[in-house]
Amino acid sequence: MSGTTAAPPVLLSVAGLRVRYSGMVALDDVSLDVRAGEIFGLIGPNGAGKTTLIEAVSGFLPDAEGEVTFDGAPLRGLRPDQRVARGLGRTFQSLELFEDLTVRENLYVAYARPTWWHSVLDLVRWSRWPAAARQAVDDALELLGITQYGDDLPSQLPNGVRKLVAVARAVAGNARLLLLDEPAAGLETSESLDLGQRLRGLASAGTSLLLVDHDMGLVLSVCDRVHVLDFGKTIAEGTPEEIRASSAVVAAYLGTDAESGSL
């Protein structure tokens, strides 16, 4: 699609994003661009505003100031579900799976977008999942390597698998850009490496990713570019190598959160 010289087009553009929570500034004039096909990392110490950025971009903070454009169109005033319909998917740090739907149904409900007319028809027509839906759900399960858990309820699954289900659900929604909120939190190193592989696979299948995580190993190994926030402000942006070398980043991490400072 893109040549070797021309950079791929910007998919998500955030300009001058500012979010206040009852007096406290959570995000202060943050701007970033995510390009089509890339894995874009967003890191920062606790309270840096990473999750807030995802909330604002996905439409859960309608009062956020600043411009968010997706695929060239401004998103202002759109509800979360309308943003999803445009191809902007997300996961939650707390997963928020539908606990009384099976894994497959969790994915199907994200895949299928019945119009009001379909919803009326659903009252009178016999329902079988269409082949395309079955295929899409199976593909997403396979991509994350959780096919065997398809018919289980999420509450029966171990935490690592639940995290993959959350990602698979967002994938099944046909997102062009996925906002992933700490998908590796609480995973063991081997699981985290495995997750990195799967995210790479996702990106090469054509989905762009904005990855928020604490696991520096994961972020720096899979991301094409990384953006660093501290106290709601941008302190660095660049390739993983540049970030590794940035003194501002090291200071921010060592100064506030020594535990994850092992760069």
Partner: protein
């Protein structure tokens, strides 16, 4: 001057609303429960007081066939009677909390609402059984003199006294919460139960204390109410609506706001009755609309108004199994139903027909509350709009069946859409509050209007006929009643709509409803229009209710206000809940076993003349079921004899299509939580779903959903 006079007259009612509201706030802050039975508690204590004053006997909450009165002597004076009644209230509050509400800390909002409705039904039917439904006028307790405030401006002494009482109570509560350890502990555990437990507080004891104080306040409200309105079970019970309105305005938090809102509401209501006398265009019942408006305003201004409580555990929602073999099962049920309709006769056949109609109406709760988690207490009001629309259309325009029931359904849909709109902002208990107020409003504005309800003789419903075939339940020959053909019509409709509802859980639309029920945030994040999905559920459920209301009309031959009153609306949510609100067969079970006048009540009536006690049994069953079986009858483990029989049948026949029987070390599997079973010794082979044969006469349907119900997976797990 009459304006001011009417405002002042409203002080007494306002004081009572405030006092009731204070109790509601205490219950909510203490235990996280919005107690819909608070008005019923006030009513009950008022009767205890009345019995002491009038007869000098102490009334216990037992049905009349048991020894339930202790004769203390001659009629008592006000003061000792009041003291004994309030002490009684203290104990009642303790018992209610320890026996019932203590177990609801992990229940869903629905479970909590339904349980308090169960208490409401229980107290109401106890009072009715003992004292009858007629209004009683006990002697006044406060002076009946008036104070002269100026030329043509007088205010009753009692209004002033009551105002003083509620203000003092409000101040005392405020001081307790501000300055005492008990108040601090209550505030802490309302904030976070976990945290309160960690610092050594006992949320259970705190909640119990608050319930006891709240019940005493309810009792005091009941006793004071005697001053301003005659004592009757239903009127007092439904004072819960204005009480909820003032509590909601105060966010179930501020005592001061409750008291002020109470006075505002009481005075406005009184002023509206003044307007009714001045201008004829102000409709009767307009004053009952005020609490509804107050609630809507509170919701509009504040959105999801109730402060969130820090819960200890995840909430349990009723299971919604995805049924298989729907077609076969439905066909089998229809056959059983047909056999029943033609084999039974007389009261039993009529009971079955009534059951089918109520089963149909309960489907409305399955869609709205079971699948989508929206708690509506006004589905019967929706049904009423359908029913009266049908009867008026048929009478005036001669619209034939089945067009008329479709129009009835559409009329219901219109109302459902209107009610669904505030539901965009109110969820859980708040929605229950909105809808109970809506039920009362619709009742007093429309159903109690003689132009609509047909006055004393009721609103006539024409004969049911299709293409010239007479399908009506009656003919001119009295001995012909009840004819089975009406039942056939309802059975066919029930089967069709039941199929549609059962099928819905497998469609994207149905899954969306479940997703919204489970987690609105996540639903929005996967692209579901949450508001639209809720509205859709309201529309579908209201269509079903509207058609159901019309069927009820055909069954009764005449519709009246009482058919669709708020009490019916409220009780049927509870009845649908015990049947099993997440599944179609739950609605059918509810219709058969629990509906008043249904098959079960016909059987009980002819066997041991137990009919009058059915509401009481129902109320107790609602509480027990909400505490022990959140999935209702349809999801509960079968009763022991059935398990034993099931074992036999399963071991002899096996079951086509089912996996190999699993051996578990099982006597009777006892469900301890949603997914866990405790199994006592005695090894036995049971079928994998642990179901045994279908219960009752509901043959195949019981079997099919059981295959997917959670008792199956649990029993399997226990076997592994």
């Amino acid at each position: 001057m009459t304006y001011v006079e009417f405002l002042l007259l409203g002080l007494s009612a306002g004081a009572v609303y405030g006092l009731l509201g204070l109790g509601l706030v205490l219950e909510y802050r203490g235990s996280g429960i919005v107690n819909f039975a608070h008005g019923a508690m006030a009513m009950f204590i008022a009767y205890v007081f009345y019995d002491l004053r009038r007869n000098g006997s102490l009334f216990f909450p037992l049905p009349p066939f048991m020894p339930n009165q202790l004769v203390l002597g001659s009629p008592m004076d006000t003061l000792p009677a009041a003291v004994i009644s309030l002490a009684y209230a203290l104990i009642l509050g303790f018992v209610c909390y320890v026996v019932i509400f203590r177990f609801l800390r992990t229940a869903s909002s629905l479970g909590k609402v339904v349980t308090s409705i169960g208490l409401m039904l229980t107290l109401e039917s106890l009072a009715q059984l003992q004292f009858g439904t007629n209004a009683q006028t006990p002697p006044a307790i406060l002076p009946t003199t008036a104070i002269n405030l100026g030329p043509e401006l007088i205010v009753p002494q009692a209004a002033v006294d009551m105002t003083g009482i509620v203000i003092v109570v409000g101040l005392v509560l405020w001081a307790i919460f501000k300055f005492t350890r008990f108040g601090l502990a209550t505030r802490a555990s309302a904030e976070t139960e976990k945290g309160a437990t960690l610092v050594g507080l006992r949320p259970g004891a705190i909640a119990c204390g608050n319930w006891m104080i709240a019940t005493v306040l309810a009792g005091a409200s009941g006793i004071l109410l005697v001053q301003i309105t005659a004592l009757s079970p239903t009127v007092y019970t439904f004072l819960i609506v204005p009480a909820l309105a003032v509590s909601l305005v105060a966010r179930f938090e501020s005592f001061g706001a409750v008291v002020i809102a109470g006075f505002v509401l009481g005075m406005l209501e009184s002023e509206v009755t003044n307007f009714q006398q001045m201008w004829s265009w102000v409709p009767q019942g307009a004053q009952d609309v005020l609490p509804f408006i107050m609630i809507l305003l509170a919701i509009a201004v504040r959105g999801s108004v109730l402060p969130v409580r820090g819960q200890l555990q995840e909430l349990r929602l009723p299971k919604v199994p995805r049924p298989k073999n729907i077609g076969v099962v439905t066909a089998a049920c229809v056959v059983v139903g047909l056999i029943g309709l033609f084999a039974l006769s007389g009261n039993w056949r009529y009971g079955l027909e009534v059951s089918l109609v109520w089963g149909f109406i309960c489907l409305s709760f399955v869609v709205l509350t079971g699948f989508n988690g929206q708690i509506s207490l006004c589905q019967l009001a929706t049904g009423g709009v359908g029913g009266f629309t049908m009867s008026h259309l048929a009478a005036s325009a001669g619209v034939p069946f089945p067009v008329d029931i479709i129009i009835a359904g559409l009329a219901g849909t219109v109302l459902g859409t209107l009610i669904g709109l505030p539901a965009q902002r109110a969820r859980g208990v708040s929605l229950a509050v909105v809808t109970v107020a809506a039920a009362v409003t619709i009742d007093s504005l429309f159903f109690s209007n003689t132009a609509i309800n047909g006055g004393f003789v009721g609103s006539k419903v024409p004969k049911l006929s299709l293409f010239g075939l007479n399908l009506d339940i009656r003919t001119s020959n009295v001995h012909d009643f009840p004819r089975p053909w009406f039942g056939v019509v309802v059975l066919v409709l029930l089967a069709l709509v039941g199929l549609s509802v059962a099928n819905l859980t497998r469609t994207p639309t149905g899954l969306r409803m479940l997703a919204v029920r489970a987690n609105e945030r996540a639903a929005a994040a996967v692209g579901i229009n949450v508001a639209g999905t809720k509205l859709y559920s309201f529309m579908v459920a209201s269509f079903i209710a509207g058609v159901g209301g019309a069927l009820l009309g055909y069954q009764q031959g005449v519709l009246s206000e009482s058919t669709f009153g708020p009490f019916v609306s409220v009780s049927f949510l509870a009845i649908a809940f015990i049947g099993g609100i997440g599944q179609v067969r739950g609605a059918v079970l509810a219709g058969i076993f629990l509906a008043t006048g249904g098959l079960m009540s016909a059987l009980l009536d002819s066997a041991i003349n137990f009919g009058p006690y059915l509401p009481l049994i129902g109320g107790v069953a609602v509480m027990a079921s909400a505490v022990a079986y959140p999935n209702g009858m349809a999801g509960a483990p079968p009763p022991p004899p059935v398990v034993a029989l099931g074992r036999k049948i399963a071991s002899v026949v096996g079951r086509p299509g089912s996996p190999v029987p699993v051996t578990v070390t099982a006597g009777i599997p006892k469900q301890v939580s949603q997914n866990e079973f405790v199994v006592p010794e005695a090894p036995a082979a049971i079928s994998p779903d642990g179901a045994g044969p279908p219960r009752g006469r509901l043959g195949a349907e019981t079997r099919e959903t059981r295959n997917r119900s959670d008792s199956s997976s649990s029993a399997e797990e226990a076997g592994r």
